[in-house]
């Protein structure tokens, strides 16, 4: 019954947000440009750095694991802080108001946007780790098993980052100070 009500509300919302062919064409155009101008050069830069001699020696050095741990801690702290401004579980104002004022459980109402945000962050981290892992396997002789473990760790880090992001959204403002103890704990 809850699912039916949710689907009906989404149906009314989508019914007034039908996209024309022009809208769709513009989305494709923007995505292609973003890919060509931002994403592809970024990925290429990561590959050049990771696969270069200096990058390989840095990534296989003793301090690399410590640096990665710092990055993870910074991501989690950043997730908590970002959650105060813009959380992962978000809908446009009117459907958010209508749905969260109803007796439909908020976990159900906000599941889709939460999954969408989590997917984006997990995909970004896993993709980056894949690129770096591939560079290490092909250029420095790192074992495939180790590179796979690195990618899995990145995936898990992405999930934890999404959770800290959600936690930041749900907590009162003063608790956004929590990232700093977290960073100190890491140190």
């Amino acid at each position: 019954m809850t699912a039916r009500r949710l689907a009906a509300a989404r149906g009314i919302w989508r019914g007034r947000h039908t996209r024309t062919i022009g809208d769709e064409a513009y989305t494709v155009y923007a995505a292609v440009l973003l890919g060509l101008v931002v994403v592809a050069p970024g990925l290429r830069a990561v590959w050049i750095v990771a696969a270069g001699p200096r990058g390989v020696s840095m990534l296989t050095s003793d301090g690399a694991s410590c640096a990665v741990a710092w990055c993870a801690a910074a991501l989690w702290a950043g997730g908590l802080l970002l959650g105060r401004i813009r959380g992962p579980a978000l809908l446009p104002p009117f459907p958010l108001h209508a749905l969260t004022s109803s007796d439909i459980t908020r976990a159900v109402t906000l599941r889709r946007p939460l999954i969408r945000s989590t997917t984006v962050i997990v995909a970004a981290l896993t993709g980056g780790a894949l690129l770096i892992g591939a560079a290490l396997v092909t250029r420095s002789g790192v074992q495939l098993v180790d590179a796979t473990a690195f990618v899995v760790a990145a995936l898990a880090t992405g999930i934890v980052t999404a959770l800290t992001w959600l936690t930041g959204q749900g907590f009162p403002a003063w608790r956004s100070l929590w990232p700093w103890p977290l960073l100190l704990l890491r140190a």
Binding site: M1, R5, G11, H17, F94, L96, H97, A98, S102
Partner: protein, 231 residues
């Protein structure tokens, strides 16, 4: 330190519920935020099927009291029970019981008046037929039927106020909280509002409304709580 706000019961007050338990119990509730007193200690109870009107000058804490009842503000002292339970707006059962219009709700620029009201109704009704009939009924109640195809930016400020009221009256509730619902309404539209409130009271709903309108208060109040500015 605080004055204590207490209610005045009108001769038209409805009797207590058969069970004898009030639906809303506000016990010595006060609110202070960052050393600023927003609401002096206030005590009153409201029975099922009763309209309580909050009066008081600007800054006396009417909106704060309504927000406390709605669960968006925590009382600094005292407590609130609704249906015998503490206020918890994260509880779906609480949201089923309590509806509130404290300020205008957000509106979508590309949804019509009918779409808005139907969307809210669809979050409560399983059957599409019930959604359409509830939507049509509430648009009639607030004289919005002729405006059903308009977008929010095509409404006057008074029409937008009626539209906001329709969005809250279309859903089921046992307790309705209204903050100055008469804002921007002409006398005939205030009569529409009063009629809608009285109809819901007849159906057993409890309403707490803050108002500066003597006319609305005279027409609807079973109980008046006059708030004094916190010092």
């Amino acid at each position: 330190m605080f004055s204590t706000n207490r209610p005045t019961t009108h001769a038209s007050a409805t009797p207590r519920s058969p069970a004898g338990s009030p639906l809303i119990e506000v016990d010595a509730v006060s609110v202070t935020a960052y050393k600023t007193h927003l609401l002096a200690a206030t005590t009153f109870t409201a029975e099922p099927g009763q309209i309580t009107v909050l009066r008081g000058e600007n800054g006396s804490g009417k909106t704060t009291l309504l927000r406390t009842l709605a669960g968006s503000v925590r009382p600094t002292t005292g407590g609130v029970l609704i249906g015998g339970n503490p206020v918890d707006e994260r509880d779906p059962q609480f949201r089923r019981t309590v509806a509130a219009m404290i300020g205008l709700p957000p509106m979508a620029s590309d949804l019509t008046v009918f779409d808005h009201v139907a969307l809210v109704s669809s979050t409560w009704e399983d059957d599409p037929g019930s959604v359409n009939s509830a939507t049509g009924r509430v648009l009639d109640d607030f004289a919005l039927t002729s405006l059903r195809s308009r977008y929010p930016h095509e409404l006057s400020s008074g029409e937008r106020q009626l539209f906001g009221l329709a969005l809250v009256f279309v859903r089921p509730f046992d307790v309705l909280l209204l903050d100055e619902p008469e804002q921007r309404l002409d006398p005939s539209r205030i009569d529409l509002l009063a009629r809608a409130m009285l109809n819901r009271r007849s159906a057993g709903c409890t309403i707490v409304a803050a108002t500066h309108s003597d006319h609305l208060a005279r027409r609807t109040a079973d109980l008046t709580v006059t708030l004094e500015s916190p010092r």
